[in-house]
Symmetry: D2
Subunit: 333 residues, 4 copies
């Protein structure tokens, strides 16, 4: 950390803050400029509370130098984390495709979609049994009934299950059925849920919050890792910007940035990332080209009858076409 | 709703979608332009699922006309909601001040602050016993011990208690101590928590999410209202923008906008809204001038020793000065 | 500046960059942490090119400590700048109101409005003769004819003229008529125009760009100041965010922030800042409470017939009401 | 357009606005809902001024249905525009690479870089002779001297020249040397410059503004097209968001969106789009995979000595590597 003192702060007050930092166990290196004094803090800065320094009226600015995450950081864990889900590995350089409907609606719907996405090369099935909906009047999911249908789809196709857990209460129940527990964008900073996910034995797919910086996203992963669960998969699904044509702005630069800062695998969700089915294929190709470890895509047998997110769901032929082109990109990326 | 068909869509396909809408119970009014057909839907549009329409490949755009909230809407509830908290009324044209530390730290700290803010005119005390922290390594709050201290502060000062509930598990426990349950910005779309808050008998202070539109904020209020709890207080605390000098951008236009769209009271938190103690007083004055029903402000006896948010906490003399000036503004607004 | 070297950079490479910095005339203070070396640069850092340091593959991060503006900075000019426009002073603690139509449309329109806003207490008249329009098919302004009408309005009412200059070509011509030259939000980084404005003898009202940080805004002021024109008035008019209900998000915290960082006066434009006439009065009150040096407000005799921005223009009675309430706020702020 | 009247507006006032719309030459289709009346306007709506409708106090909302651009729209120009620059075609399905330094610095620098990027497959050279810099104290470019060096580089390598024009004054001079005139992000809404560019015989590369929606970007293209210059190349270079790790957020979904809405070619600038040289290659690959018509990339012989943007410039070996991988992606996209 670097503390920038206000111009012309009295010596006595500079000394006071230096002594406080020393007492907390840091080394302090002072640099005197023409108007301002800088204090470089090194050593063990974990006991420093930034707010306390910012509250000092002689301090102009406090600058953090280190990333605040540790377990999620590549600095402390140089080799890539590879998450194993039954036979599938995520983060080992291959490309994993998770596909399925936004919501589990019925047995017919789910089985049909599962068989189709399997035939076209998907590795896992997605489908929500508990749905976070902006409106309390929208369909909220089939609940455990939906989980049972996912299990049946798995029995038929062999596809592992990725499904969302929305609250602490149901985490254990969802974990009985799911192979990967998804924590949605709106819950990225639901710390109670993150802590509980950290105590689960199931891998966690952590979606980036709508307005979360990459640093905050990795800090949320840190919550899970710090509770003992090393199997975190990050999922970028678009961030909120001023652009109105797309539902969100898919931040594909998150792929190489996460790869640089962290050892965790990262997958891309171009369905939520764009909100429009016709943008899914080009963005899926771009994601693979950028180095993503996988894709998460919404596919529906009848988008025009889907209970949610019909507008961003691929039909079977579009999914087939997408798989075709992303595999070609993957082969040469 | 208005459906805009793609240019030159065949008549048969227009008829198909019209018939579907009719079958769902709407009236359909067609307008033919040079290239495009518009379908105006009126009547009971609640059974329409927007995603299904957007999934139709002949549809260019679906435009919603009505606000999606009902119980939170002034259309359906023209008179202002006044929330009563012990003797204090919020939303009746008066100005309520909620003050206290970011986190409850100790008995000495809390009692001292409580006595001071009471003496300077605060109506309620704030203080977190459960703290949502970006880092798992930061202080997470005293838990129930903190709630007991809040109760003690209330006994001494008579100030009602506003404190945050972070998860479903602890809601009942927090409600035993608190007069108002705060749902924080990061939990604004934690729907499980919202539903449970809707079943509580305590008033709920619902903070706006960092990147929530006003419409989404009112939809989260709708979750609470629709479960039977009519006592929702909205709290604007800054939104996330590109500007880096302030921690967030305080959106004061939310005050008149909420007053226009909804009947619910709205208070402003200039501490989180700016992140800098020296900006709190000017923004508090501006909030009152804009018509806010109240203020929520962080005050600390020793910001330089605060366990969290020291940089945005007012000292006693700053709080006194703020109370002074906001009261003058209030008197003439 | 502080250079953060990558973890475990070889000593030789640290020395190389230290020597380069020394050769540019800075002092270099080194702090060694467990993994990283920090280099604090003090003294004359103006000859350092940040991009060159960032290009060094051993550098993790370059942190600027000082604000990049000088002439616009309160550090180097502690007393407030007061801009004099004929009899009116902006920045001396009084509150200046600039009112008038979005665009000059006709003699009848402008004279009527001018007389009305004068009667209700405005200090200056606004009105565009050259209009920046998103669409090439929209009304682009009356040009010099509009400027002549503004001069006539000044002759009748005594109100000084604030009007926009959109390009270098017309700056001298506009300056013949105007008392204050406005540079619009879209031109905030039109550096050729800024330089020319810096050579004008007329005060410049510099609007903040839609997505400009406060630092960038002050850097644009620096362009004008550095060419010798000390009379810059800053105007906040809303920034672009994700919120859709308002046209822009009015960032009122810019008022106290600008007052802290700079000595230049700052006025608020609640008309563009909100885009809705019914939000203008509450936001004008809030702006005055926050300490603004003035307001810039659109007023029209017949908003329903206005050639531009009718939706955000006040009618006479609304303007009268606004003047009334802002004066009360001003009296006690 | 659709006009939404406020709930329970009196019949007489609805009739008044209907009559006004009829008098402007539109057809009006009325739909009566339970509370609100909708007026669908079809036919020739060009004479309608939206602000005038919004100014009507009985109007709740005005909803535009059609895109506001015409000449830039694929609706009115279904086939792709192919821009020819000497032998190179942009927009015909091939992939064009424009490479070179941020700024022209010296003869040695430019010739060396030109020869290198040519050898590695670039089709055109970029390099600024006039530089838009945030600070008035930064290097502002070599001016005409820089243009002469670009001409020399072209003579040596045969590469066509893309260079920025910052103001009207120099447009003709820049056009004497350049093959493509670049209009920078900060000037995207400098309408005087756009109009002049529309009268030039040279193709225009129009960069997207930092906070411009895709619609506004196409409206700026419309300014150029409407003045008679059909050769507009769009260039996405990152938008401003809350994310701080990258300089901007590269919006790659702009590629398929522009392809859908418009017939104009679109190229991607991953150098400005990320601000970090190590993110350029992955984002260049993603851009090609998404369907971009070309790339614009900063390359420097010695980024650590570059006068500007060193941190985002590729070295020769990185550029070579990038060309290699993007060509592989291009072959299969």
């Amino acid at each position: 950390m670097v503390i920038v003192m206000k111009p012309n702060t009295e010596r006595e007050k500079v000394e006071k803050i230096k002594n406080k930092m020393l007492s907390l166990g840091c080394e302090v290196h002072e640099s005197k400029g023409t108007n301002r004094v800088l204090l470089g803090l090194v050593g063990d800065t974990r006991r420093i509370n930034p707010g306390q320094i910012e509250a000092n009226e002689n301090v102009e600015q406090l600058i953090r130098v280190m990333n605040p995450f540790k377990l999620a950081s590549r600095d402390f864990h140089p080799e890539d984390t590879v998450v194993k889900v039954n036979g599938t590995k995520i983060g080992n350089g291959s490309m994993v495709v998770i596909a399925g409907p936004c919501a589990v609606e019925s047995e017919e719907q789910l089985m049909e979609i599962a068989v189709n996405v399997k035939a076209n090369g998907a590795n896992m099935i997605r489908g929500g049994a508990f749905k976070p909906r902006t409106s309390p009047y929208s369909f909220q999911g089939l609940g455990e009934e939906g989980l049972k249908l996912l299990r049946k789809a798995k029995e038929i196709t062999g596809l592992s299950i990725v499904t969302e857990v929305m609250d602490q209460e149901n985490l254990d129940m969802v974990a009985e059925y799911a192979d990967v527990l998804q924590i949605g964008a709106r819950n990225m900073q639901n710390y109670a849920l993150l802590k509980q996910a950290g105590m689960s034995s199931k891998p966690i797919m952590l979606k980036r919050g709508l307005s979360a910086t990459i640093e905050e996203w990795l800090m949320s992963a840190e919550y899970i890792l710090s509770k003992g669960n090393p199997n975190v998969i990050l999922c970028e699904r678009g961030i909120r910007t001023f652009e109105k044509y797309t539902r969100n702005t898919l931040d594909l630069s998150a792929v190489p940035v996460v790869k640089e800062l962290s050892h965790l695998p990262v997958v891309i969700d171009p369905s939520h990332g764009t909100g429009k089915w016709n943008l899914v294929e080009p963005m899926a190709k771009a994601a693979v080209a950028a180095g993503a470890d996988g894709l998460m895509v919404e596919v529906h047998n009848q988008p025009e009858e889907a209970v949610s997110d019909g507008g961003q769901s691929l039909k079977y032929d579009n999914f087939k076409s997408m798989m075709n082109t992303v595999q070609k990109i993957y082969a040469v990326r």
